[in-house]
Amino acid sequence: MSEEDAAPKPPPVPHANNKTRRMVMRSIAMGGAVVGASLFGFFPVLRKWTPRLRPPGAIAEADFLAACIKCGQCVQVCPVRAIYLGDLDEGFGVGVPYIPARDQACDFSCDAVQCVLACPTGALSHTVSKKEEVRMGLARLDRPNACLARKGEGYKGAARPAPFKGVHRYPEIDRWKPVKLAEYKYDLELCDLCVRECPVPNAISLEPMSKDPADKCKTPVVHQACVGCGMCEMICPTEPASIVIDIRRKWGDA
């Protein structure tokens, strides 16, 4: 769609004199400018300037941007405040929710996918009723050489030390109150944080790298059950994360 198509037609001029003609010209210029400004939203969307991990249940991206009414009810119900709203640099994604997984992942501690239930328009589809049905993307070992498990290394201390602000619910501590990752200390002989804290059963496991039983090195392997929530990306103690979410990638996709 070009801008000319969108520019408003001149309003009818009953008795045009110079003053009203100028007013009508001004009106057309203003209309064109406002419509032009609104169309800037196309750039970030079509050029994919800001790929975003959408909350659980999000329908196909183009439909999602259309169906979302930009109210932020999903933001309000999330117990770990994992959902943020898009800004002006996201074009038509202004006010549309996303999850910055590395900073705060969705750990499904709400159990019943609260954001989906909160969505008034079905942009987060109500066909999703439990965490295992969610498909936000897929985890992928992005920097295998940095992965501590693959190096056979353990991990001591907070997975993400201060000033990291992200939180996670540890059922053994308090089912209802999330704990700051910076305040939860681990002492692991072999780092298995991505597997240990994954909220979805059978989504990821550590597999031996060689047949030698003395070899401590293991590698995280992502399975089909992975929903792409981003918990592994958030908890990964290497900087930047060794494991990341491929947004909207489905099992079997290249």
Partner: protein, 320 residues
């Protein structure tokens, strides 16, 4: 017929002087014509003896701030009284959806969404009851910012530092159609990405972002060039609620009996074309209901020195 005229004027037509008058209006016009010179001057002086109050403006600002603060505090303290923002929300569990946002979403997404229909139904009824564009002046946070910008504009204009360059009021109707078509053709809610109502509402609740730069730019433009540009000539939300308010029971009415036709009301009005009846010989009856585009802001009621403008609930007088 009256409704049609009121809608036409809202869409951009210039208000016309009535073709005929009721006998009562004619008689009153004649009686008022007899009052001239020193007697009229005395009436005007007497009317302006008291400084006009800001009663309705204060009540309205308090309401607007309260409504928006309920949204902010409800999330801030997690009391879940109201969830969401002005584009869509849940009020104690009931779905509310802004009419214009819901229309944009359904045009872009091309699916009728049950929750949205329920939400718009609730909102439609609420704002029909309360006067349609009442949403604008009593709830929209951008309206308040624009009112402050307008004050700055007028103060600067008084010192001849800025001049208002008015636009054609039909612009809003044209833009309404353009944004509706854009939503259908592009499949995106194009208007929502620049709507200052949504942006300011979300900025209040979830914290401001870059999008506020656009809003501040708009306000600056309104101060320097075009008085109340967004609300008067652009905003489709106003037009959507204008249609709702066209048949609303709550409205402002004009009584010509004590009116001195000075036009103080039109000077403060966001949509002065609805107050055309307050001009000499422009009221076809003694009592005239103000048209659909009126935001029920009450500035004219505050400004009127003769009490000729009042809030009225249609039919309530007969009932009581």
């Amino acid at each position: 017929m009256k409704l049609l005229t009121s809608l036409k004027i809202m869409l951009g037509a210039a208000p016309q002087r009535p073709a005929s008058y009721t006998p009562e209006a004619l008689a009153m016009q004649e009686a008022k014509r007899q009052v001239k010179g020193p007697e009229r001057a005395r009436q005007i002086r007497e009317a302006h003896a008291e400084k006009h109050s800001n009663k309705w403006r204060n009540i309205r600002w308090a309401t607007l701030i309260t409504v928006n603060m309920i949204f902010v505090l409800s999330f801030g303290f997690d009391v879940q009284l109201v969830e969401g923002s002005l584009t869509a929300s849940r009020v104690i569990g009931f779905h509310f959806a802004d009419l214009n946002s819901a229309i944009q979403v359904m045009l872009a997404y091309k699916v009728i969404l049950i929750n949205l229909v329920i939400g718009t139904g609730t909102v439609l009824f609420l704002w029909w009851l309360l006067g349609g564009r009442t949403f604008c002046s009593w709830t929209c946070p951008y309206h308040l910012l624009a009112e402050i910008a307008e004050k700055v504009h007028l103060a600067l204009a008084k010192r001849k530092m800025v001049v208002d360059y008015p636009l054609h009021r039909g612009s809003r109707s044209v833009l309404y159609v353009v944004f509706a078509l854009l939503a259908v053709v592009s499949g995106y809610t194009v208007f929502e990405s620049i709507s200052p109502t949504g942006i300011v509402s979300r900025a209040l609740i979830y914290g401001p972002g870059l999008a506020m730069v656009w809003v501040l730019g708009l306000l600056a433009y309104e101060i320097i060039f075009i008085r109340r540009m967004w609300c008067r000539y652009i905003c489709p939300i106003g037009l959507t609620y204008g249609f709702v308010g066209a048949v609303s029971p709550l409205r402002v009415t004009y009584n010509m009996e004590n009116c001195l036709n000075e036009g103080d009301c039109r000077k403060v009005c966001l949509v002065p074309h609805v107050l055309e009846c307050t001009k000499k010989t422009y009221a076809e009856d003694v009592n005239v209901a103000i048209g659909a585009d009126c935001t029920r802001c009450g500035l004219c009621i505050d400004a009127c020195p003769t009490g000729s403008l009042k809030f009225e609930v249609k039919g309530l007088n007969k009932l009581l």
